[in-house]
């Protein structure tokens, strides 16, 4: 037994030592990063794939590093939760693509980038104001580089709808006319996914002055005026479905991109979506796309027009200075420098977040660039960075889906969502 134990111990020590040696070697020679499939060297789009790989090769040759990437899961909430868990336990990759509205949660673990901004002549003031708010931490240091953004808007076929609706009532009137003409009514995501929250719920809720959380990040969507604002949104949508002006099957579509199939079917001349769908809708409709226009989302009575902003921010976790330089240079060349952002956002049909890029030669703003920029600047609003946000969003997505499918009344669905989201908080209040 003693000999057996000795062998066992020996093997254990060898395994540990070999592992350590490998880890140290990896740490020195490899720049690890995590991104989305679409923004990675594995992108299914050939041009993007080629562009990203070319830039990787350049950095690898210059710094003698191997760039090793990982891909976020499709479920962004899950991906951000995993990344945050890695960051808090010191296992985060050297750099990462972070969903804009969650960025604030990572600031404690990210490296300040002020010196690198200076060294690589990047001007923080060139970034749009909303992007600067995200990039700069409470201590005044820069912690991230906003990469691209998107907004929510209404897409409509001008040959069928000459004037886009400005209010919800107008949208319902147009929808009624469409249904009478044999088209589908207003299409909007109302299933269980983030698209429902950011496209169909938040803009109308925020437009009335509603707040999902307070300044401490605590839930407020079911309290006082906020309860009434959210109920107004639920009731408006419920009435639309009851009257057949919003198809009930919207309860099964949770992502903006789920509506692409509706457009492809040719029966949907008006829908709520995201600016990132423009390229896909253009591909689907072909020459007919020329008849399509975009406009701000309609508002409820006495409300302001609001649009949820989405977008991604790059952050650097590594403390190694050489790797920080390699990472920053790669990001600048590929995604966030004036030229890089111009080329990349044009190629992918995304909205840049640097003012100079909109005027640069590299940037091709596509069919609705001006409209999107106007919506972004005048109505854009980001989701709260609160840790409670994911839970709030999920509960309200489920609640509106319950309402649309007829399982619950708006009041009951909203009350249940509030009860679930705030369980156990009564005692502490």
């Amino acid at each position: 037994m003693k000999t057996f134990t000795k062998y066992l111990l020996g093997i254990g020590v060898l395994v540990v030592l070999t592992g350590c040696a490998d880890v140290s070697a990896d740490e020195e020679d490899t720049l690890t990063w995590i991104t989305n499939t679409a923004d990675s060297p594995d992108s299914p789009d050939e041009d993007t794939n080629h562009y990203v790989n070319e830039n990787i090769e350049m950095i690898e040759n210059k710094y003698g590093l191997s760039m090793q990437h990982d891909i976020h899961t499709n479920n962004i909430d899950e991906a951000m939760a995993r990344l945050q868990e890695q960051a808090t336990t010191g296992r985060a990759p050297d750099m990462a693509l972070i969903d804009g509205f969650t960025f604030d949660r990572f600031v404690d673990d990210l490296q300040p980038l002020d010196e690198l901004f200076e060294e690589y002549e990047m001007d923080i003031n060139d970034f749009l104001p909303f992007a600067q708010d995200v990039m700069v931490g409470d201590d005044g240091h820069i912690y991230g580089i906003y990469f691209n953004t998107n907004i929510r808007n209404i897409f409509y076929d001008e040959t069928i709808i000459p004037e886009p609706p400005e209010t919800w009532d107008e949208a319902m009137t147009i929808s009624e006319e469409l249904v009478d003409q044999g088209y589908e009514g207003l299409a909007m995501p109302l299933g269980i996914d983030e698209g429902t929250a950011v496209t169909s719920l938040w803009p109308m809720f925020w437009g009335q002055g509603g707040e999902l959380v307070n300044e401490n990040g605590e839930r407020t969507f079911g309290k006082g005026d906020n309860y009434q604002y959210m109920l107004n949104v639920f009731e408006a949508i419920d009435q639309g479905v009851e009257q057949g002006l919003i198809p009930q099957r919207m309860a099964t579509l949770g992502k903006e991109n789920d509506l692409n199939a509706e457009v492809a079917a040719g029966q949907t001349p008006m829908f709520f979506g995201g600016s990132f769908q423009t390229g896909t809708v253009e591909d689907i409709l072909g020459p007919e796309f020329e008849n399509w226009e975009v406009a701000p989302l309609p508002t409820l009575e006495d409300s302001e027009s609001t649009s949820t902003i989405g977008g991604w921010v790059w952050g650097i976790f590594t403390e190694d200075e050489e790797k920080q330089h390699a990472a920053f240079e790669f990001l600048k060349n590929t995604f966030v420098g004036k030229e890089g952002m111009g080329q990349y956002t044009s190629m992918r049909g995304l909205q840049p977040v640097r003012e100079s890029v909109y005027e640069s030669e590299e940037f091709d703003q596509g069919p609705f660039g001006d409209e999107y920029l106007e919506i972004l600047e005048e109505e854009g609003r980001d989701r709260p960075a609160s840790l409670e946000y994911s839970s709030i969003s999920l509960q309200l997505q489920t609640a509106i889906s319950e309402v649309v499918s007829g399982r619950k009344s708006p009041e009951q669905a909203l009350d249940d969502a509030w009860e679930i989201a705030t369980f156990g908080e009564e005692e502490t209040e």
């Binding site: 945050q84 949660r105 079917a265 840790l387």
Partner: protein, 316 residues
């Protein structure tokens, strides 16, 4: 033994030594040392995670913060929130009908294949292989395939055919009741293949002479099925029941791809609820508590099956 028993007083030390050696020898000679690696593996891979889940279920841990405290709150929250009991009801419906029809369809297909082989019909191998292919398709892919089938626009495969007959469009996925039926049907299709394979294996063990003897004794087809075939394959049915029940309770991928638990929470089964709680609400405590409930349900179902069918299937 005799030397040790009658040893004089001064030799006490050596007696103890001999006893120790014997004890050591006994351990070495037993199977226990050989079981140590496997035991370590089992503890590390199976028991430790279960222990961890039980521990986490008594905490308020979440996925993004490292601080936590021990509490019963996860269980209190689980049992008192409005969604839990309806979710168990949905899971019960989904599991009961999935298991019942997987068992029934699996048995009927297996019986037909065996009968076909008995009659030396061509194509039985193709049928067997086709069913096996269905079994090999990942749940997510099945979810996507059925999404296309159930699509409620004119592009939907089922609705397209129904519209040609002047029916529909049918709200397969947006009506809460129909959505649960649609998801259950997709799961029956998914699980029937595995059930058929086990049933087919079981039917191979039925003695042809016994069936022939029953036939000669005047037993009809139903009597032969009830009194000869079913009792013979009861152990296989038991194994099948246990496996497909646990499989169905743990089903998550297909439902996720097909409905994401919607509309509302009408198709949210327990495994999907665990996923949502942990990865969308980041609530490890409640997620772990729900996992423990799932574990207890699986263990209880297995015990019931063993008690009810185990005795019947016992050859002794």
């Amino acid at each position: 033994m005799s030397n040790t028993s009658f040893a004089p007083e001064p030799k006490k030390k050596s007696t103890i030594k001999t006893l120790r050696e014997k004890a050591n020898t006994r351990f070495r000679d037993t199977a226990y040392p050989w079981l140590i690696p496997l035991s370590i593996l089992l503890i590390a891979i199976f028991l430790y995670p279960i222990f961890e889940i039980i521990r986490i279920s008594f905490t308020d841990m979440n996925l993004v913060e490292q601080d936590f405290s021990y509490t019963f709150n996860s269980y209190i929250q689980l049992f008192s929130l409005p969604g839990f009991w309806p979710m168990l009801g949905t899971t019960g419906f989904f599991v009961f009908f999935s298991v019942a029809f997987q068992l029934l369809c699996g048995f009927v297909i297996a019986l037909l294949i065996v009968r076909g082989e008995g009659l030396k019909l061509r194509g039985t191998v193709i049928v067997r292989t086709s069913v096996l292919v269905a079994w090999a398709i990942p749940g997510v892919v099945i979810g996507v395939i059925f999404t296309m089938l159930y699509d409620e626009t004119s592009a939907g495969i089922l609705n397209h055919f129904l519209s040609q007959m002047g029916i529909g469009p049918v709200t397969f996925l947006s009506d809460p009741t129909l959505a649960l039926l649609s998801v259950t049907l997709a799961n029956i299709w998914r699980g029937t293949a595995f059930s058929m394979i086990l049933m087919y294996a079981g039917l191979q063990t039925v003695s042809k002479q016994l069936v022939e003897a029953a036939k000669i004794d005047g037993a009809g087809a139903f009597q032969r099925l009830r009194n000869v075939i079913l009792p013979t394959i009861t152990p296989i049915i038991l194994v099948n029941l246990i496996i497909i029940s646990i499989d169905t309770f743990n089903t998550f991928d297909m439902v996720m791809a097909l409905t994401q638990g919607g509309p509302g929470s009408s198709t949210e089964v327990i495994a999907l609820s665990i996923y949502n709680t942990i990865f969308q609400e980041f609530n490890l405590g409640v997620g772990a508590a729900t996992s423990i409930i799932l574990l207890l349900i699986n263990i209880s179902m297995t015990m019931i099956y063993l008690k009810v069918l185990g005795k019947k299937g016992d050859p002794s």
